[in-house]
């Protein structure tokens, strides 16, 4: 049972702020973390291999510092890690990223399942995993909260709007993990230290047969033309008075607007 987990290092979005002068994202001092949904995917992969044997390979596409996130995944129990890093890959959108990752997965070769987090915390698009599945010609099961492997099939429970769906697919398949899937383990000091010593190979575009015209800016059909801080503000009215008084005034106003 060989499982590949595609993961991403993301800024902790709860710490991200907009510079009101320049309307750009302030990234300074914002800590980098493993995308939280990817931690669920790593945990699920490690559990599968604990049960069925085999190995977990984690892969990420990113700048050299993304190696730190891979070390955290190794500490959680992944067996091998690969960093896909090449300047030609920078500025890839979701289509280009899924193409790049599918090329790297072909190079890894021997796998039964590919797990991803359901979406990344920074972009929230959820578009890369189905893109990988399509480019590899594999079935996909998104929003997974539980899974089991039976013979050459995987059976997964999906969390949808107001319902669960149990789906079966032949392997290999691409699955995306929801946060309700499991509780990611916190590695002990010994695992962290062992993970520090592991070799992490760095792959470039040429080594994965990636066509440079299909990745980076050139291979990305979407382009961001503008970013701005959201404005949610309304002209509001503050209601003064003690709680009883304020409550009565509010009810009058709401009743006048036929809201109560």
């Amino acid at each position: 049972m060989n499982v590949i987990v595609c993961m991403k290092q993301v800024p902790d979005t709860s710490e991200v702020r907009i510079d009101p002068e320049t309307n750009t994202i302030v990234r300074e001092g914002v800590p980098s973390i493993i995308n939280p949904f990817d931690e669920n995917a790593i945990e699920a992969a490690v559990q599968l291999v604990e049960e069925h044997g085999g190995k977990v390979t984690v892969i990420t596409m990113g700048p050299p510092q993304a190696e730190q996130a891979l070390r955290e995944a190794l500490a959680m129990g992944a067996d091998e890690a690969i960093l896909l890093s090449d300047r030609a890959l920078a500025a890839s959108d979701t289509l280009a990223t899924s193409y790049v990752l599918s090329c790297a997965i072909r190079r890894i070769g021997d796998y039964d399942l590919i797990l991803c987090g359901k979406q990344a915390f920074d972009g929230d698009t959820a578009q890369v995993p189905p893109g990988i599945a399509e480019q590899l010609g594999l079935p996909q099961i998104t929003y997974v909260i539980g899974l089991e492997v039976v013979g050459d099939k995987v059976r997964a429970r999906r969390l949808l709007e107001g319902r669960y769906e149990v789906v079966e697919a032949r392997m290999p398949a691409v699955l995306t993990a929801d946060k309700h899937m499991n509780e990611p383990r916190r590695p002990g000091l010994k695992s962290v230290l062992a993970a520090k010593k592991k070799e992490i190979p760095v792959w470039d575009a040429a080594g994965c047969d990636i066509q440079v015209s299909s990745c980076g800016l050139e291979g990305s059909p979407t382009r961001v033309i503008r970013t701005f801080a959201p404005s949610h503000e309304h002209e509001g009215e503050m209601i003064e008075g003690d709680p009883r008084d304020a409550a009565c005034q509010l009810v009058e106003k709401l009743a006048a607007a036929k809201l109560v």
Partner: protein, 399 residues
């Protein structure tokens, strides 16, 4: 755009024949061959164990964008078999955009025996309905839906394709986009078109709602987007308006579908909490201090006939199930009245509720950002204000 078979690799096994939803492949002298019915949907490409079938889509810069016309909405249906709310919202928004482009609106309706819904779509503003009925399309599954839709897109060449940003739309759209090499923007909250360039300006929140980004797909077609439910206005019903219904015959072999739905289980708890259709929502935040204090929120909600919402902080703390969550990572809501109790108003939360018709905020911190979006604000202890509010409502009703 081209699809071809590398004959030296083809073994004539026939798996592609079974995979083709349009019945457009035949085996002649032990080799597969496309008939004129081929829509270039690409379903056969991944079905071929030899990798003998190649679908070549034009890449960025190679697309003749002038060949693409009209705006399509991909329909979604509810478990009860009606058109989903988001589909009606997309027909409303799609109509506005299409009018600016002097284009038609088409609905792609896939399902089993859904002809009645096709007729309904006309009343909601669709000019054309591509009706694809087949037992294998009864429930949404990625494979057959993507195959059918890619075929329709490659054959008819729409300029814009919109999907709901639901579990279905967000599963299907990226699969289709990856096959036809089109640009796709996720979870849009604002759309507009430039009639000169005919480009769709797609605006969406990112970085947890902290920033908005406007995205274009300049060189690929169709321009594709998933759109967040409850953001756009629903299409108005027009009695007597009819769409052209184009029935699309398909032939799906169940054995070639890679996934099987074993079971669908209604989530009793989540099913009862329908935030997106609620007219009034009362939400609780960290100011409640402890999970048991949600009882007070529930009491106010019961008094008003409202649904209970919650901030991410309370869901993350395990005080209340995730299906109550309002915000960027929860539900986007647009009720007539939204009452926020003990919610500070992180951007994350505001992204999901700031377009509510009337917002009331109750919080003891006068500087809480929630007051900036509130139509009415009360600075005070929610444990004092909320009980008074409940009695004031009851007293008024008793009059």
């Amino acid at each position: 755009m081209a699809i071809y078979i590398e004959e030296e690799k083809c073994t004539g096994c026939g798996l592609c024949v079974a995979s083709c939803p349009y019945g457009a492949i035949e085996i002649v002298e032990s080799k597969a061959r496309f008939t004129d019915d081929c829509t270039m949907c690409g379903a056969c490409v991944s079905a071929c164990p030899q990798g003998a079938i190649v679908l070549e889509m034009p890449r960025k810069g190679e697309v003749d964008t002038s060949q693409y016309r009209d705006l399509w909405v991909v329909a979604e249906t509810t478990p009860e078999g009606d058109l989903a709310g988001v589909t009606i919202e997309l027909l409303g928004e799609g109509r506005k955009l299409a009018d600016e482009l002097d284009a038609q609106v088409a609905l792609v309706l896939m399902g089993d025996e859904v002809g009645e819904l096709a007729e309904k779509a006309g009343g909601f503003g669709a000019d054309t309905v591509y009706l694809v009925s087949h037992p294998s399309l009864k429930q949404y599954r990625t494979g057959p839906y993507a195959d059918v839709l890619c075929g329709l897109i490659n054959k008819h060449k729409p300029e814009i394709v919109l999907f709901g940003a639901t579990s279905m739309g967000r599963d299907l759209a990226p699969r289709v986009a990856a096959r036809i090499k089109a640009g796709l923007t996720a979870d849009c909250t604002e759309l507009s078109v430039d009639p000169e360039t005919r480009l769709l300006h797609q605006t969406r929140p990112a970085f947890g709602g902290n920033i908005m980004a406007t995205i274009l797909c300049e060189y690929t077609r169709p321009q594709m987007a998933t759109v967040r439910p409850r953001v756009m206005d629903r299409a108005q019903w027009q009695e007597g308006r009819e769409a052209d219904i184009v029935e699309v015959p398909v032939d799906i072999d169940e054995r070639s579908v890679a996934t099987k739905i074993v079971e669908v289980i209604a989530d009793e708890g989540a099913g009862a909490v329908n935030l997106q259709d609620a007219e009034i929502i009362v939400s609780g935040g960290r100011g409640l201090g402890a999970p048991e204090h949600f009882a007070l929120i529930q009491e106010l909600a019961d008094t008003l006939g409202a649904t209970v919402g919650a901030s991410r902080a309370t869901v993350d703390a395990g005080w209340i199930p995730a299906y109550h969550q309002v915000g960027q990572t929860g539900k986007t809501v647009k009720p007539k009245l939204y009452i926020a109790c003990g919610i500070s108003g992180a951007v994350q939360h505001l992204a999901g509720m700031s377009s509510s018709d009337c917002i009331v905020a109750i919080n003891k911190d006068p500087d809480a950002p929630i007051f900036k979006v509130a139509h009415y604000g009360i600075v005070g202890d929610l444990f004092e204000v909320v009980p008074e509010l409940i009695s004031a409502i009851n007293e008024r009703r008793g009059q």
